[in-house]
Symmetry: none
Subunit: 194 residues, 4 copies
C-alpha cells in the first residue's frame, strides 16, 4: 500500500536489464493467471521468474499494480476488438464476435474480471482503458438497440456484468469451448426485446 518516497521518476525508459526483469515477472505472472491461480504471491512469482522478491516489488509495488499491468494488455486487445466490431457490417455479428472475444479473454485471464469489476484502479491508464472500453461497448450496444437486437433497459454495465456471469458459468463446467458457445447464444437470445 505504501508509496515509494523516491522522486516520482518520469517514467523514463528502463535500463535494459531492468526491462528484462520486468518482462520476466510479467511472463511468469501471466502463466500463473492462465493456469487459474489468481493468488499472485510475490515470493512465488519471484522464485519462478528467477529474480529476488525485491525486484518484483520494485516494478510492482502492490499486487494490484502487477495485476493491472497484466490486464491492461488484454483491455487494450478488447478495445481493439470493440472498435473492429463497430466497423462490422452486421450489427448482430459484430456484437456477437465482440462478446465472444470478451468471454474468451475472461476465461483465459482470471485477473481480467477482477480488474474490470474493481471500484478503484491503481493506474490511471487502467481507468482510461476501462472507460474507453465501456464507451465502445456502449456504442455497440446503442447500435444493437437501434437494430432491435437488445432490449432498451439493458446498459453497457449490464453487459459487462452478464459477461462476467457467463464466464463464471462456463468456468464451472468441463468443456469450455462448447459451453462458451452455448451460453453466449442463450445470452444473446435472451437480450432480444420480448
Amino acid at each position: 500500500m505504501k508509496k515509494r518516497e523516491e522522486p516520482p521518476r518520469e517514467e523514463g525508459p528502463l535500463r535494459a536489464d531492468a526491462a528484462r526483469n520486468r518482462e520476466r515477472v510479467l511472463a511468469v505472472a501471466r502463466e500463473l493467471l492462465a493456469s487459474g491461480d489468481a493468488s499472485l504471491q510475490m515470493n512465488q512469482i519471484a522464485r519462478a521468474a528467477g529474480v529476488g522478491v525485491g525486484t518484483v516489488y520494485r516494478h510492482f509495488p502492490t499486487r494490484q499494480d502487477l495485476l493491472e499491468a497484466l490486464v491492461n494488455e488484454h483491455l487494450q486487445a478488447l478495445l481493439d476488438q470493440a472498435r473492429a466490431a463497430e466497423e462490422a457490417e452486421d450489427a448482430r455479428l459484430g456484437l456477437r464476435r465482440f462478446l465472444r472475444a470478451v468471454l474468451d479473454l475472461l476465461l483465459a485471464d482470471v485477473g481480467l474480471a477482477e480488474v474490470l469489476n474493481a471500484q478503484r484502479d491503481a493506474h490511471t491508464q487502467t481507468s482510461r482503458l476501462k472507460a474507453e472500453l465501456f464507451a465502445a461497448n456502449d456504442r455497440l450496444l446503442k447500435r444493437a438497440h437501434r437494430a432491435g437486437l437488445v432490449r432498451a433497459e439493458i446498459g453497457a454495465d449490464d453487459i459487462q456484468r452478464l459477461m462476467c456471469g457467463i464466464e463464471h458459468a462456463v468456468r464451472i463446467g468441463e468443456d469450455r469451448r462448447a459451453l462458451a458457445e452455448r451460453y453466449l447464444t442463450i445470452l444473446l437470445d435472451g437480450l432480444r426485446p420480448a
Copy 2:
C-alpha cells in the same frame, strides 16, 4: 485435513448449552457468508461467537463440515421450493419461481455455490440433498422442455451453472433486487427454443 477418529456417534440431541453454542457459531458463520466472506476462518468465527476455538472445532472439525452444515439448510429449502414448483399449474411460472428462489439463496449465501459446485462432499447428507435437488431440477426442466419453454440441449447441469453465473452477475452490481429480476428474465427468454 485430518479426520477425527471418533466413532461416528449416534448424534443424540445435544445438551442445551452445546446446542446454544452450536447455534451461535452457525449464526456467526452465516453472517460472514452473507457478508460475502467465504473464508470461514475458525479463529475469527470463535472470536465473533464468543466461544473458544476448541468449541468450533468440536462442532465442526473442518471448515467443510461447517460449510455444509450451513448450506444444507438452504439446500433443503431449495428442495422444498423445487417440489412446490413441480406442483404448480403453470410450468413457466413454476420454473421461474424456483429459479428465483435459487438465485436469492445463492446471493444470500456465498457458501451455497461453493458446495453446489464442489466435486466432493464431507457429509453424505449433503451429497443426497444435492442429488435430490438435481433430480427435482431435472424434472422441472423436462416439464419445461415438453412445454416448449426451454431448448432441448439444455440440461439440469447447464441450469445449475447458469444460475451460478447469474448470481455472479447480480452480485457485481448495486441494486440486487432489480438486477436479479432483470437477469433472470433474460435467462429465461434466452433459454427458449430459437
Copy 3:
C-alpha cells in the same frame, strides 16, 4: 497437578459401576502402553474406554497416577519374580531368570521404565514397591557377588540402569525375542569379575 478438595475419602471400596469404569480405563491404557504409545492422552483413553474424560480424571487425577496404577501391577509381579529367584538353588540361574523377567516386562510396558527411573512418585505404594524391588534386587546381587558372578563395584542401581539400557537396545531392533536373549547374555558375561 491440583489436588481435589473433597474430603480425603478413606479408600473405601468403590461402587460397582465406578470399579467397572476404573478397570475399563486401566485396560485401555494398558493396551496403549503395550502398543508402544506412552503418551497416555486422557481424552484418547476416555474415548477408547467409552467413558467421559471426567471419569478418567476422577480415578486418576494426573497422568502419573494412571501410569503408576498400571505399572504397580508389574512392579508387584517383578517383586514376586525376585523373591522366587532368591529361592532358586542356582544363584546364576536365578539371577538370569529374574533379569529376563525384568527385560520382558520392560519391553511389554513402556511405562515401567518411566516409573522406575522417576525421581518422585505420586503414590507411596509405588515408592514402597520400588524400594522393595530394589532391596530384593540388592539381595540377589549380594548373593551373586558372593558366588563370584558379578564384579564388586556393581550395585543394584547399576543393574537397574543397565536393564533399562538393554531394553532400549532390544527395542531398537527387529527380532526382540532373539535380541533379548543375546544382549542379556552379553550383559551377564560382562558383569563377571574380570
Copy 4:
C-alpha cells in the same frame, strides 16, 4: 511434512548475516539437545535465538532438516574417530577408544541416537555418513573378531544398538563420566567370546 518447492539451489556461501543467524539457530538447538530436550520446537528455538520463526524455517524447513544439520557434524566426527581407530596398533584399544567416543557423543547430543536409528533421512548426506560410519564400524568389528575380542554372532548393528542402550543406562544415572567408563567396560567384557 510439506517440502518446499524451491529449486535445490546450489548452496553458494551464505551472506554474512544469514550465516550468523544460521549459526545462532544451530547453537541454540545444540544446547537444547545437549540439555536432553529433543523436541526441537521451531518457535522455542526462534525465540531463544532471537530471530523470527521464519528465519528458522528458511534455514531448516523441517525439524528433521535441523536435526540432521546438527547431527551430521557429530556423525563426521565419529567417522574420523572410527578411521583413527582403524589405524590403531592395538585392536582392543582402538575399538574401546572408538566406542568411548560414540558414547560421549551420544550423551552430548540426544539427537544423534534419533538420527542413527531413524529409518529414513531427509538428506542424502546423512544417509551417506551413516552408511560410512556403519562400514567403518563393521571393519573395526571384523578386526575385533579376528583378534578374538568379540564373539562371532555380533554384528555392527548389534554394536550400534548396544551403544544406544549403554547411553541410555548412563543417562539415567548421576555421574556420567564414571558410569560411561564402567558400563563400557562391562559391555566390552561381555562381548568377548565365552
